[in-house]
Amino acid sequence: MTVDIDIGHRQDDFELDVRLSAPAGLTALFGPSGSGKTSLVNIIAGLTRPDRGRVVVNGEVLVDTGKSIFQPPYRRRIGYVFQEGRLFPHMTVRQNLLYGRWFSRPGEKAEVERVIDLLGIGDLLERRPGLLSGGEKQRVAIGRALLSNPRAVLMDEPLASLDETRKAEILPYIERLRDQSRVPIVYVSHSVAEVARLATTVAVLAAGRIATVGPTAQVMQSLNLLPAAALAEAGAVLETEVEAHDAAYGLTALRSRAGLFRVPRLNLAIGARVRIRVRARDVIVATSPPRDLSAINMLAGTIAEILPSGGAAADIRIDCSGEIVTARLTRRSVDTLGLKPGQPVHAVVKSVAFDGGSLGAPLRITETELDA
């Protein structure tokens, strides 16, 4: 189950030249505005005809300009969740959801129930889109795309028009979708927080070209390849598991391969999996185990690499039991401490550096389940 793209397309003064293979899971197309993300998904969907190249989904050729193959969008079976929802205003939520099923071989009825349940939109079915909130509209739009029996799903900044509360409302659904369905998802975003939390693969797009592509944790480390605006948010992405809750101090302990993290209390059951992002600018480096320090997250490791990043800063990649944690320091500090590759160090992170934007995956769990 993959989406393979190899296309070139010129639009006005902008040139898109992309070669990319999106595997199962969620592939984030990440880059600043105007880097060609939307043009690329429009080409996959068939809304734009590329000047040259091929688009292949699960082995079926949708576009091959060399052989004059161009499947129109309605024959592609590619679900598309648009930034602005684009629900049909003259239909109810139910009619919107079932629209795609008129045209595809209808799957079993349970599928509809499952998607409605997954997205929590059971109470909205008889309403008109005009009366829904932004977050509700986007959930219905996701459901409509899923129920059209798609071979792949495209999401073009589905959260961009929503405020933080609404985003937090939808993110868990997209995570569940990524983990429960087998169709590849191509997700356009310019938000590091969203990408770090959702993506299994990240492709960084800059000026119409792929700057880098790889597993999320790896790409989030390659600071010099990320767009300038994203640098402040970049850093290590670690998979963790909830180990314990500390009710007295309102903290949660998360166990990762790199070590233990204490973060502000998460509403999650013991054993739940959480993806966390450790921003490079939040990491302090100490050459000996620090004492008399307020920060409580300390990870022992060795310096794997020191990368000058231009200007005053340098990125220190620290190998903590196999996981890489990146620290962004001044070059002055690097010289003062005499840091060099192979040296054992301690990476220190303040607990309060973790916030909603850097912690993933809270599923809906009640307080009683937590206490049990």
Partner: protein, 233 residues
């Protein structure tokens, strides 16, 4: 009450007008939809000319339109002759000709109304429908058509009202034959030409006003109803 009672020829004129206006509206709808769609969405040579021809009856003196209809659709006209010989359809001096004249005169209003509503449709919704598997025909039937319904209804009502009032082109093309081509306006005109016709003219005028008002109210009501169904977005 006797004053209100329509004489038989007056009643005939009212009935004829309703029939002519209804046929004119319904028969011109498919053409109106097609041309409005072409003008709103199409990119082809001669679009400006087509637009001009459609709007011509709006600006020409009705008598000129009627005369042109006579030339083209008359028994010896290019199209009229062909239709009469091969399909047995005769327009000149028949009620069908009155319907044709009414349709031609109302056509610009219908096309204009539908064209504006097509141009107002969010094409991104149509793109969304196509990604969900709808072919262009289905996109039109399930998305475009329901969204332009208010425009279509408004166009039909305007055409109907125009057809009820059409006088100049009708009388030029098909004359003023009681029971065949004497529509409500023609009947009023005839009544005003005779000394004893005032009462009849008043009665028919009253009916014309009532029908026109009903059409306007109906169009307003339909627009609101459809508007509410589609809801704010």
């Amino acid at each position: 009450m006797d004053w209100f009672a329509l004489t038989s020829p007056e009643w005939t004129a009212v009935q004829l007008s309703l029939k002519v206006a209804t046929i004119a509206t319904v028969a011109s709808l498919p053409f109106g939809l097609l041309i409005a769609y072409a003008l709103a969405r199409g990119r082809f040579w001669g679009k400006t000319i087509l637009n001009g021809i459609v709007h011509l009856p709006l600006v020409l003196p009705p008598v000129v339109t009627g005369f042109l209809l006579l030339v083209v659709f008359g028994r010896k006209g290019l199209v009229g002759g062909f239709l009469a010989d091969h399909l047995g359809i005769v327009f000149s001096f028949r009620w069908t000709g009155a319907a044709l004249a009414a349709a031609v005169m109302g056509f610009p209003l219908m096309v204009r109304s539908i064209r504006l509503s097509i141009e107002a449709v969010d094409r991104r919704l149509e793109a969304a429908a196509s990604t969900l598997g709808a072919s262009p025909t289905w996109v039109f039937a399930t998305v475009t058509l329901p969204l332009i319904l208010p425009g279509i209804l408004a166009g039909m009502i305007l055409t109907f009202a125009k057809a009820m009032g059409e006088f100049g082109a009708t009388i030029t093309f098909v004359s003023n034959i009681p029971g065949e081509t004497q529509t409500l306006p023609s009947a009023i005109y005839t009544l005003t030409q005779v000394p004893s016709g005032d009462a009849g003219a008043y009665r028919l005028t009253l009916i014309a006003v009532v029908i026109a008002m009903a059409a306007l109210v109906a169009s307003e009501w339909l627009a609101q109803r459809v508007g509410r169904r589609i809801g704010p977005e």
